[in-house]
Amino acid sequence: MTNIIRCSLLLAFCFPWLLVAQETGFRPITDIGPVTQAMVNQSSATQSLQSTFVQEKHLEMLEEVLVSHGLFYFKKENNVRWQYLDPIQYTILIHQGKFTIDNDGKVSEFNTNSNPMFHEINKMIITAIRGDFVGNADYNPTYFESENQYMARLVPVSEQVLSMIETIDIYFDKSGMQVAKVVFSEPGGDFTSITFGDVQVNKEIPESKFELTN
């Protein structure tokens, strides 16, 4: 009888963890050398990238997920257009060292260092796309794989960043080694996932995409 209770307790304790493991389907990679090399190779070969994205914000306090859609453009070295189309119109541009925001027609220019949080997010996204986290002292990475994807889990080293973002999970498709999804997990259980779709690599992006013309 005691054994049955022990087994039940053990199962009750382990069951949620078994479910998580099944759901994610990712296991640690033992030999990371070839994987990180493939990431670095792909990132060096990527001159430009454009895609759609779906951003999902999961708040512990809210059952519903806050969903945003938009377009993403990246061109080496550090040109980014991060354009939200729905439900809000909001565009972030990083071009020639300038950081510009178009908030529904209201344009503001910033120094990237004036908004530490945003500076960090952009740095992380560019880091993910360029594969800079391999050997980057700002993060402690661990690597996982599933049948179709690799996942790099980055833990920020900086205490200040860590107080905003606990982990950054970057998912790569094994087929093309392109970033498929980025998940930012915050302290307290909230997280944001950004899933990229219709990814086009090295397709010409005009300079005008990185300028706000209104």
Partner: protein, 209 residues
């Protein structure tokens, strides 16, 4: 010396007159009729709302989306940036001044910012009291009632529609401390469409999505 004394008296009289005219256009409302609604910002059937938000703090502006959700014993309020990161999350308990900061981004975690957020946003969820200290006034058109609550060194004024109870404006004056003004407009069934909060060097604009 006599001349200076006269100046002082004149100044005091002027200050008194200015003070007495603070609610000019409003006359005392002696009878509370059953038809008079209570001032309401979020109606009893309010469950949740999303607001596009612009928060200006000491000359710096941050933008994002604010979620306000009614829970069993109060309101949860969280502001997240467009890119998804949470700036702050505060819980305001029903019918009391109790607020719990569940999260505040480290760059915002400064005493004056925290106090301003709690104090001004808490005002949105405060319920008007009817007691011996409550004063009621009505404007000339009878379309706006002014309810004044005085307690603990502060005075809260609610300007509202006597029929629907919808609050147009709230003001909090503290004997020691900043003055807060909140303007609300375009009520959409259960909550205002637009909320503007002013408190010293901090302002917030919420536009319902």
């Amino acid at each position: 010396m006599k001349f200076k004394f006269h100046l002082l008296i004149a100044f005091l009289i002027q200050a008194f007159l200015a003070g007495s005219c603070r609610f000019s256009g409003y006359t005392a409302f002696h009878k509370i009729t059953p038809k008079l609604s209570k001032p309401t910002v979020f109606s009893p059937d309010f469950s949740k709302a999303l607001y596009k938000t612009e928060l200006s703090l000491y000359g710096r502006t941050i933008t994002g989306i604010t979620v306000i959700k009614k829970v069993d014993d109060g309101y949860q309020l969280a502001m997240v940036s467009e890119v998804g990161l949470k700036y702050f999350e505060i819980f305001f308990q029903d019918d009391s001044a109790i607020a719990e900061t569940k999260y505040l981004m480290p760059v915002l975690d400064r005493k004056p910012v925290k106090e301003a957020l709690i104090s001004s946003l808490g005002l949105l969820f405060s319920e008007a009291n009817y007691n011996a200290h409550t004063r009621l006034k009505v404007n000339e058109t009878k379309k706006t009632v002014l309810l004044i609550n005085k307690e603990k060194g502060s005075r809260i004024s609610y300007y509202y529609d006597p029929v629907s109870g919808e609050v147009d404006q709230m003001k909090q004056n503290k004997f020691f401390g900043s003055k807060t003004t909140i303007k609300m407009s375009a009520y959409m069934e259960d909550a205002p469409d637009s909320i503007m909060v002013y408190r010293g060097k901090i302002s917030m604009h919420f536009q319902r999505m």
